[in-house]
């Protein structure tokens, strides 16, 4: 394709493919031509079921696919999972980290165990998966890492201390790693996610959602599909010169005072 957006022949791993955003992104990557491995964040029955269903949707688009039970907090699971993608789909070009464990509580009420879990999944999970997948990208001399990061990583949100700290950590991991790999063919970027419908977490509550809708410049929350264009673009050859950036897709939320 003249625009360089075609992903035919690429293999993408979407971690956290089972939630609404992950599903939309995985299907969009498939529609753009990529084969897709749909991985869980935690190998629960529910997440594995969702990953299977996303893999089926990828199949329906006509791409090779894989449903991958992954535990991002377990280095051995991550190592084996990435190896399985490469073995079954032949390579690994694109990693989408849609790793998300939402958690909002008053600061003084957050137990150490909850903090540890939130950081282990949201921050360390991205770190471990990217380390493992990135090694293969460096060997190939081409790769794309795309971290999906909600607004709580960019700005303060009440009760979002632990969660926001983890997400902000991913944003600066993105920038530092982009510099580290800038001359090695692997770009590292983030897509900033506006408040979104259809996800577990703070927007999964009608009153809170209505308040947000009144507040946001676009007067609506994002639909999961709103992020697909940004991810496909960043995954493609067209974005080869872009690295270390955060592409915020938030309906204008970050523009106003």
């Amino acid at each position: 394709m003249a625009t360089g957006l075609d992903l035919t022949g690429r293999v993408a791993l979407v971690v956290g493919a089972g939630n609404a955003v992950g599903r939309a992104v995985a299907v969009a990557l498939a529609e753009a031509g990529a084969d897709v491995a749909a991985a869980t964040v935690t190998p629960t029955t529910e997440q594995e079921f969702a990953a299977n269903s996303v893999a089926n949707e990828v199949w329906a688009v006509g791409r090779r696919n894989l449903a991958l039970p992954l535990d991002v907090t377990d280095p051995e699971s991550v190592r084996a999972g990435v190896e399985r993608v490469a073995a079954e789909l032949g390579r690994l070009d694109i990693l989408v980290n849609n790793v998300d464990l939402p958690y909002y509580q008053p600061f003084t009420e957050i137990p150490r165990e909850a903090l540890s879990r939130v950081l282990a999944v949201n921050l360390e999970g991205v770190f471990l998966v990217t380390q493992e997948a990135g090694r293969r990208m460096l060997e190939a001399g081409w790769g794309r890492v795309i971290n999906l990061v909600p607004l709580a990583g960019e700005r303060g949100v009440v009760h979002g201390t632990a969660y926001g700290a983890a997400k902000a950590g991913v944003l600066n991991l993105t920038r530092s790693l982009a510099l580290e790999w800038a001359r090695r063919g692997v770009t590292v970027n983030a897509v900033g996610l506006g408040w979104t419908t259809g996800l577990p977490g703070p927007t999964d509550h009608p009153d809170r959602r209505a308040e947000l809708e009144r507040y946001l410049p676009a007067r609506r929350l994002a639909e999961p599909g709103d992020f697909a264009g940004a991810v496909v673009y960043l995954a493609s050859e067209a974005a080869a010169f872009m690295t270390g950036q955060v592409l915020n897709v938030e309906g204008g939320a970050l523009s106003h005072v």
Binding site: Y103, A152, H159, P202, H205, E211
Partner: protein
């Protein structure tokens, strides 16, 4: 003693827009810290009120009625200050505010309204810096404090001249800071949030419901920050914009008071 480093005894500070609001508050704070003040604004009567308050603190205050959108008047301000007080240690570029055309739909804003908004909020800063910088370079010391706005860092509906000019003030701060760093001149910027008397036209007074701390700023709350930025205590700080807004820009992605609780899953 650390607090001695905040003292401004013997210094001379030029403050534009000093006739009221944040400008007057900064002039008084600088005077309270020991500085003599050159107060500039268009309205002479307001300047006299500022001067009386500065003098009540035991400092000299020279008033120079000035329209900062006029480069000749700005040059005269600086010449007068140097002739009368012999030096300028601190320049506070505070003059600015809403102008005609603010709040209008973009297609209704005239060329003249656009130029006035840019002249008032941006060109004025340029004129004042251009006039003062050679003197500061000669003395190899100086502090320039620009005043921008939250609207210099974010947009506002129907807010064009003001928001564009204030954003430019944030960035001219950086360029000046880089250029003058070797001359021992520090250039910084204060971005105030909502101060009801600060003449940020187009804003409705909303009682602070949309401000995380729950209230608007009070004019006198900008004073200590201006003193710090004018003093030796901030000698390694340059090029930066400091936001003073009751927490507004730290958040801004949810309504104030929006406080979800979401338990851990899995």
């Amino acid at each position: 003693m650390i607090l001695d480093r905040f003292r401004l005894d013997g210094r001379v500070a030029v403050v534009t827009g000093a006739g009221r609001g944040l400008g007057r508050a900064m002039a008084l704070a600088l005077a309270a810290a020991g500085a003599d003040v050159v107060a500039a604004a268009r309205t002479a009567s307001q300047l006299e009120e500022t001067a009386a308050a500065v003098q009540a603190l035991g400092r000299r205050c020279l008033t120079v009625p000035t329209d900062v959108t006029r480069p000749d008047q700005v040059d005269r301000l600086v010449r007068t200050a140097l002739a009368e007080l012999g030096r300028i240690d601190v320049l506070v570029n505070n003059a600015g505010g809403g102008t005609a055309g603010m709040g209008k739909p973009i297609q209704e804003i005239t060329d003249e309204e656009w130029r006035l908004g840019i002249d008032t909020n941006l060109s004025s800063v340029f004129y004042c810096c251009r006039a003062v910088v050679p003197h500061m370079q000669e003395r190899r010391r100086g502090k320039i404090i620009n005043v921008a706005s939250g609207y210099g860092l974010r947009g506002g509906r129907h807010n064009y001249m003001y928001a564009a000019a204030k954003a430019a003030v944030v960035n001219i701060t950086r360029s000046l800071a880089l250029t003058l760093a070797g001359d021992n001149i520090q250039v910084t910027c204060i971005a105030p949030g909502f101060f009801p008397h600060s003449e940020q036209a187009g804003q409705r007074i909303r009682g602070g419901a949309y401000i995380p701390v729950g209230r608007p700023g009070r004019d006198e709350e900008i004073g200590p920050l201006a003193v710090y930025l004018a003093s030796d205590a901030s000698d390694h700080l340059t090029g930066e914009t400091i936001v003073l807004d009751g927490g507004g820009l730290a958040g801004g992605v949810t309504p104030t008071g929006w406080a979800p609780r979401v338990a851990l899953e899995g």
